[in-house]
Symmetry: C2
DNA sequence: ACCTGAACACCGTTCAAGT
DNA sequence: ACCTGAACACCGTTCAAGT
């Protein structure tokens, strides 16, 4: 009988209280990660292992549950040991984001450079980023939202390696410098908007301060919004994949226009 | 100067200079908000006043600095007093987001319904949202990222009132139900992607766990990225306003196409 | 009716100390 | 060389108590 019965709250947002007695549970038994055969988890600590554990932890418990102490527990170590490999929690998160974005390099469907033309390249890159977003829905808001290394680096393509790859592919395919840069900007905005909303719609707590709460469910007084009510079924249909495809093709078409004109896409008749 | 909250300093734990007795200094003098003539700050506490103070606080100190205790201090009250008006910190943030989004209703340039046609309406609405984003750069990531009331509500147009307004305007202007919904989705993605990136580029710590740190500045080994180096100046030019305009007009053009065809915008020849 | 004091169960982080 | 114990300065939140 740890706590007195919750006084109210129909949708109890009660902070998860761990059994204060059990020393095992100190780090939160609910957060123990299956670590393979006994002994496996004892591997030497290093930065890569820590980042990997953090990613796994966020994927399964949400960002807000990630605590230095709990991450240590998952790795079989006290929180303080992590500071030998990572300067602090903020930098840990930066490392996690970098790590996740770098997964793209291991993606066999996304080869650098444009062997089959720039449109093919941007297609594969976009789908690679989308795969990452869907694989780490709890993490993608972080990718979208952490301050980039430089002001002109735009999430989600937030590593210089990808910016370089993008720009060389385009300038090497007939884009002027100006239009390559403009294309980078448009492409980033497109990816960020679509993927952030797709990931959010998937119902994940796309939330910087995630409470681990379930879906907020429908709303109270829908009576005031007749059109919303009438279209509710249409609104609930998930067409993300097709919409992503369509918007991507539209964007590529626009960029092709820009490329052929060889000038700035803000020019009024680039899109007439 | 004045960041008095420094928690560390190698010199060990010499007794903090701040007088622990003084109730004034408890919340951290660095966060005291000028509250007009003496006595003004003592106004009766209520939910609206609390939300307003929270918005002001986030605008000037960043999200991560917002603490129940500090917010209480700003309002001349202990943190515990806030719980009489707000269930907890998470719900405070939800209220803040709702509050900020509702600023749109007070915007004289954004009237509901489409007196001058749907394109004019979507134009004004987009610019209204953009004004909000730029007015509250520290807050916009929260608007973008908090879980919406229902899965089909898409930030940044995250109030049912605006969804209703959007959908009735479009269905009343010749859009089929399907294309009105598709337009809502495309419009949301466009706004979210562009504004999140614009706000981030403005250099604000567009950061859920903002450290109050300065800009990360340029990068280390730029030598490996020759194209980035060559285009760095172009990359640093801020063309956000023009890019927003261009992308918005392009989107509206696409939607007009969809409207005239009266069918799904995913149809392949909507955009040829 | 409205606010506070004191307390609880956490945090991130430091540092001397153990092995 | 690598990890831990203990401590510090915070958090959010509860609840009985004050006014």
């Amino acid at each position: 009988m740890a706590r007195a019965a919750d006084p109210d709250e129909p949708a109890g947002s009660a902070p998860r209280t761990a059994d204060p007695d059990s020393p095992e549970a100190r780090g939160g038994a609910a957060f123990v990660v299956t670590s393979g055969p006994p002994g496996t988890g004892r591997a030497a600590l290093d930065r890569r292992r820590i980042l990997g554990a953090a990613i796994e932890f966020i994927d399964s418990h949400g960002l807000s549950a990630l605590t230095m102490r709990r991450l240590g527990a998952v790795l079989g170590v006290e929180a303080m040991a992590l500071y030998r490999y990572v300067p602090g929690r903020e930098q840990l998160l930066d490392g996690v984001v970098e790590s996740v974005v770098d997964e793209l390099y291991g993606d066999p469907d996304v080869h650098m450079e444009a062997a089959h033309g720039w449109q093919d390249y941007l297609q594969r890159l976009a789908h690679g980023v989308r795969r990452i977003a869907l694989a780490h829905p709890e993490l993608f808001p972080l990718v979208a939202t952490r301050p980039p290394a430089a002001p002109w680096v735009r999430p989600p393509l937030r590593s210089l390696r990808w910016v370089e790859s993008f720009l060389t592919a385009l300038t090497g395919s007939g884009f002027s410098d100006e239009s390559a840069v403009a294309a980078y900007r448009a492409y980033s905005s497109f990816l960020l908007g679509h993927l952030l909303l797709e990931v959010s719609q998937k119902g994940v707590a796309i939330n910087a301060a995630d409470t681990g709460e379930a879906t907020p469910a429908v709303d109270p007084d829908l009576g005031e919004y007749p059109t919303v009510v009438r279209l509710q079924e249409l609104l609930s249909v998930d067409e993300s994949a097709a919409e992503f495809e369509e918007a991507l093709e539209n964007l590529l078409g626009r960029l092709e226009h820009v490329r052929r004109e060889g000038r700035d896409p803000r020019d009024p008749d680039s899109f007439t």
